[in-house]
């Protein structure tokens, strides 16, 4: 398979570009922020995502979805990134859909996702930095489980209909085995959800589980075998976050290169200064390399590669997340710097790109986390 978008994927990209660019440009996000919107995204827009078929991209045709892959989901995510559009697409239509795939929960949750009615959130992280350990306890109680512990950085957690919670049913926090994934519906008793506004004005919740009781059928997949669906969730989430970040970086780079062709100083366009040309050309190169890394990971996932060695899809996902993290960070930093003073103003959009990049870079592990992970996979 060649490493570029095929004709159908390019068509989808054009559709997504037009749709997201028209319905949710940066001004849409700015307005939600200025209004201090409590939801953090537009439910109406989420419905329209469903009408476009986007929410069913990763849902199999047997469940009424499009049965497409991570490349296609990434095409949509990149446009979301480029327009900084607040959307539950990544957590719901990508990560949650993948986590539930092939489990009894697909039947229950897919229809709402396909209709753009259901929003899912991922309760994975327990500290300020993403780690592979899971400490939140799930003890057997009656016919089900009782969950105790805390999660944070749960994007859309305050409005989610479905929370996917990683919990420990056996062993200690750092153990590989003994993890179970739960589907917890909204409004469960003894759960307190506190939304916090982040630097990019998106909302992510801190959640306290104070003995939250769930039925046995809340288990996603098998008890103690949660690394399986969690692995699918993380591979999809990381690849998706990388794709969205790629859009953020590309959007910032485009703005910057355009600015170099407009702004005059010393009687000439600043884009004619070689010092800036070289930095822009270097940035372009980093972004191209990141783009290839993301596409490679998407294609390997779509080919069904689930190998966990240092040469397989799992490693490719970490390469994609780390490389995109580094390249897009350069993009937003150079973006602000090359805009000069105007780049520091709230009124101008470039700063939004910097804030969004920082959030996505942190999500599901930053570049250092993934570089470390690759080193471990390669045995050093």
């Amino acid at each position: 398979m060649p490493l570029f978008l095929n004709d159908e994927q390019s068509m989808l990209r054009d559709t997504a570009k037009d749709f997201v660019g028209e319905k949710a440009p940066v001004s849409h996000m700015r307005k939600l922020r200025d209004d201090k919107d409590a939801t953090g995204f537009s439910r109406d827009l989420w419905k329209q995502f469903a009408e476009m078929g986007f929410t069913g991209i990763l849902v199999g045709e047997d469940h009424g979805g499009l049965g497409l892959g991570h490349v296609e989901a990434g095409v949509v995510l990149e446009e979301i990134g480029r327009n900084l559009s607040p959307s539950p697409f990544l957590s719901t239509a990508v990560a949650a859909v993948e986590a539930l795939k092939g489990t009894g929960h697909a039947e229950r949750w897919y229809p709402g996702i396909l209709k753009g009615e259901t929003v899912a959130a991922l309760a994975i992280d327990e500290g300020a930095k993403h780690r592979s350990s899971v400490g939140l306890k799930a003890e057997r109680a009656g016919n089900g489980f009782r969950l105790s512990g805390r999660k944070q950085f749960v994007t859309h957690g305050h409005v989610a209909d479905l929370l996917i919670v990683a919990a420990r049913t056996a062993g200690a926090a750092d153990d590989e085995a003994g993890v179970t994934l739960f589907a917890v519906p909204q409004g469960a008793a003894k759960m307190s959800v506190t939304p916090e506004r982040l630097a990019d004005s998106s909302l992510a919740a801190r959640i306290e589980f104070d003995g939250v009781e769930v039925d046995a059928d809340a288990v996603i997949g098998e008890v103690d075998a949660g690394r399986d669906p969690l692995g699918r969730l993380l591979r999809a989430g990381r690849t998706g976050a990388a794709a969205e970040m790629l859009g953020v970086g590309a959007g910032a780079m485009d703005m910057t290169v355009n600015y170099l062709k407009e702004r005059k100083q010393f009687g000439t366009l600043i884009g004619s200064f070689q010092a800036l040309q070289h930095r822009a050309a270097h940035l372009y190169s980093e972004m191209e390399v990141a783009r290839a890394a993301v596409l490679k990971a998407q294609q390997l996932l779509d080919a069904g590669d689930d190998s966990t060695g240092s040469g397989g899809a799992d490693a490719a996902v970490s390469v994609a997340k780390a490389m995109t993290g580094m390249a897009t960070m350069l993009s937003v930093q150079e973006g602000v710097q090359m805009h000069g003073g105007i780049g520091m103003t709230d009124e101008y959009d470039i700063g939004f790109y910097m804030k969004r990049q920082r959030v996505l870079a942190e999500m599901f592990g930053d570049a250092n986390f993934h570089a470390d992970r690759l080193a471990q996979l390669a045995g050093y």
Binding site: S272, V289, A315, M323, L374
Partner: protein, 395 residues
Amino acid sequence: MMSDLEQFRAETRAWLEANCPPEMREPVRTEKDSVWGGRDQSAMTPAQKQWMDRMGERGWTVPDWPKEYGGGGLSAAETKVLREEMAALRCRNPLSSFGISMLGPALLKYGNEAQKKEHLPKIARGEIRWCQGYSEPNAGSDLASLATKAEDKGDHFLVNGQKVWTSYADNADWIFCLVRTDPTNKHNGISFVLFDMRTPGVSTKPILLISGYSPFCETFFDNVKVPKENLVGELNKGWDVAKYLLGHEREMISGMGLGGGGKNPLIEGARKTIGLDAEGRLADPLLRAQIALFEVRAKAFAAQSERFIDELKAGKAHPAQPSMMKYYGTELNKSRHELMMAAGGSDELEWESEASDGGREARAWLRTKANSIEGGTSEVQLNIIAKRILNLPGA
């Protein structure tokens, strides 16, 4: 039912397994492990010769060139399969040469039928080794200011002047050379000619590199007669050929960023000198972090190389993209060797010892510094990206 491509894959793998000598599946370690072909094949090992000849017979040294010119006539998809299968079996490249990576593509585009029939099959079979006569003492980055002149003498050109940094000129059989045919016109006064290095009046003088090797030369032309039929493309239009060829040269040099298959020598080297801690991590955490972040870029660049070749074959690559590949790949390769030196410590500083294999890594490290100079410097590549891809003004 197997698809045609799966069928091709199965057949290719079987053929490679049967025909690639075991010695040719060992990693390439020194310059001597690379095969360059040429009239004089006395330095080649029997296995090298066998592997080159077998692949050459099938046209698989240049799998996507047309069969009539000695190529394999494979489609882009088949070529990719061949490369994948060669990588899977760790087969060495049977033949690398400036003929394959530079002159061949230029001849395919700009050569006339007689030139293609004459030169391409010999390149494919490794019979003739070429060198590149571009740079001159006063024409480096500003290549189009070159002065070596070729005067029209009826049935031949008379060439006089000097080239410099001519890689392997002393081992090459033929040269592709840029000459000035109109002194009044900078870019439109250059022509692209081919001639035999044994022609009277051609002489070479090796130059010693900081690595201690002499892979390149000063090359002098003193009343060298070049037959008119050896002009490629039109008179005074050689700059187009030269630029097209440079794109292919950059593509080739960018491949150095890939490092190659098999065991990763950087990680292996670090493990050996530094060791692992109780958790199985490299015991020097700062070097480990540098290597890990480097490896992210190296793996991402491998994906970019695959993407670039796929786009190129499908006609989707930006014409200036080789500049980006060259820039990134060579800077990456320099970082790799800096890290290899850091990982090796004082072991790798030994210049002549047996343990250091005659200073193999130290010399390789120094050699890589040329990667971002040869074929157009990094700064020149950045200028090209800025101007032609980003369309920045006045670059």
